[in-house]
């Protein structure tokens, strides 16, 4: 098993190289004038020229790539045009908020999506299945940003049940930073009031973000459960007199998990993409909001830095998923 994990880690290296190559090409080869993008729209001609020389943008692309990689290895993702801070430091500041949001959404998805998917598969073509199907079709068809706005309109403006923006009330101060997740940090600090406040702020964005992903999750669980329930070994298990509960929750579910986690890992990309929009709507100070703000100010280095970090995270998640897959599936254990 250990050798499998090591091999899997090694196999991720070319993928990451590919990711850096593509990010490099997007930032250096696609734009008409990369230098102009790096300095920003308000810069003078001379400043553009200076940057061109300074960043070696007049050199051939392969050499530029080496420079770029060298920078990356030293943690240099470029400098933000807006505040002239290193992009990496900005992203690091915003990272915990995004992590808190995505983890909360992931939890919601799994907690609701898996039972719902099983329910739909077991009661296939009955009422429970139809209701689940309607919920999930609406889920995959809803524009996240619009859903967020509608939630704000209803639960914040009209009903006033939940706060509509930020991670805490404006007047509150953040709990002492240990994990960077306010809910967790507040609990660690023993401040239940603050925990409740952070949780209330988290609910709307987390629900908004999870809904799309939840729909995808439900569909996968449903279809892989149906596939598993149609296998010969299910009939064998029935012929051996095992109970329906055992057959569904043990025999079929463990098999259905194998395709489920693969696709769940792939769909994590949708969660990351959705985070961009959700954070924007709910003024959630995470990387997603940061990148949209960067787009408004045409802060190109910030955009590319975010792209790289988000993709690396995505590759990392799928790496974990692969390892989990090997743990669940005896057929590919080495």
């Amino acid at each position: 098993m250990r050798s499998y994990i090591i091999k899997r880690l090694l196999a991720a290296i070319p993928v990451l190289l590919g990711v850096t190559l593509l990010t490099f090409l997007i930032s250096h080869a696609i734009p008409g004038d990369p230098a102009a993008l790096i300095v920003g729209p308000k810069a003078s001609k001379e400043a553009v020229e200076a940057i061109r020389i300074e960043h070696g943008l007049d050199k051939p692309l392969p050499i530029q790539y080496l420079r770029y990689m060298n920078g990356l290895l030293h943690g240099d993702l470029g400098q933000s045009i807006r505040n002239h801070r290193p992009v990496l430091r900005d992203l690091a500041d915003f990272f915990p908020a995004t992590l808190e949001l995505t983890l909360a959404s992931l939890f919601l998805c799994l907690a609701v999506g898996i039972p719902l998917g099983i329910l739909a598969a077991v009661y296939r073509n009955r009422l429970a299945d139809h209701i689940t199907r309607i919920i999930s079709v609406i889920g995959v068809s809803t524009p996240v940003f619009w859903l967020g706005l509608m939630l704000l309109l209803l639960l914040y403006r009209n009903l006033g049940w939940l706060p509509g923006s930020g991670r805490l009330d404006i007047t509150s101060t953040a709990p002492p930073g240990i994990t960077g997740l306010y809910t967790l940090d507040a609990l660690l600090a023993g401040d239940l009031g603050l925990f409740w406040e952070a949780l209330r702020h988290l609910i709307l964005p987390a629900f908004c973000l999870s809904y799309v992903y939840l729909a995808v999750m439900t569909r996968i669980v449903r279809s892989s459960m149906i596939a598993a329930l149609g296998q010969d070994y299910i009939i064998t298990a029935r012929a051996h007199g095992l109970s329906a509960g055992r057959i569904i929750f043990k025999h079929a579910f463990k098999n259905s998990l194998i395709p489920t986690i693969t696709i769940a890992g792939l769909s994590f990309g949708e969660l990351l993409g959705g985070a961009i929009l959700t954070e924007t709507i709910f003024s959630w100070p995470g990387m997603g909001k940061y990148v949209v703000d960067s787009i408004t100010t045409l802060d190109f280095p910030a955009i590319m830095g975010f792209t790289l970090v988000a993709s690396t995270a995505y590759v990392g998640i799928n790496l974990c998923v692969d390892i989990l897959y090997a743990l669940l599936n005896p057929r590919i254990r080495y």
Binding site: Q231, D232, Y233, I235, T236, A237, R238, A239, H240, G241, L242, S243, R246, H251, K254, N255, I258, L328, N329, P330, R331
Partner: protein, 313 residues
Amino acid sequence: MGFETHQGPAHVLDRVSLAVQKGEILGLVGESGCGKSVLARSILRLIPSPPGVLLGGQILFGDQDLLKLSEKSMRALRGQQISMIFQEPMTSLNPVFTIGHQMREVVRTHKPMTKAQANAFCCSMLATVRLPDPDNVLQRYPHELSGGMLQRVMIALALACNPALLLADEPTTALDVTVQGQILAILSELATAQNLAVIFVTHDMGVVAQLCHRVAVMYAGQLVEEALVHDLFAQPAHPYTQGLIASIPGQTPGQLQTIPGSVPSALQPPSGCRFHPRCPKSTGHCALHTPQLLTVADQHKVACHQAHNRASV
């Protein structure tokens, strides 16, 4: 033991009546799609409904009607008193659990045993089907064993609780000839030893001739002939059975006898005798009237107008 069923809307089984005694191996023969597997599965009520609907009839196990049992008592029966082995040993076991895990689970469902007891019991079961190194086999996953070995595991599992009836659904079709021989030998030996009633579903007349005591021939969802194995091969009464035996190659040199046409669809079976469009002896009467399954000689029943006429003359 006896049963009598028919299913719809595509009448996969039409008024099939059969009986098996203790210690007897009954061969159920027919070509693909004739309903022989469906029949075997309906006995254990494994046909999902929808789409399968049992329109009528009864399945008597001893004096219990299986069709009237609750799902719970049915479950207690499955694996315990009636068990089943299947055609594809490779897919009949759950790929993500070890053989031992799955065997123990079944054994402990039916018998109060500790894990260690169950393990020892499974080991002894594997030994009775002559699997070498049972301890090791228990720790393996299904994909690590060959088809022949898996089929032995399936047999061991099926016989673990000393059932009274074993349903074998083409258990050797997916195996090589030399391995098939081994499996058939084990089955026949264990059936005798445990005084089992076996329903052996197959399309291979050779296997039937070698293994079974009695044979039932099915065609397009209906039973067309039933006889002791010697009588069936010596004096097949139904033209379909005759054709089936004559079209086995390698029997006699020279021309191979053929049955013209192909197996009809279960959705639109022919009228009257379902075999009449392919039958060399059919008359106008056959197209209109469905023949009954009637006794023509001792323990020999056939559903054919011509055979009935001959018998009554």
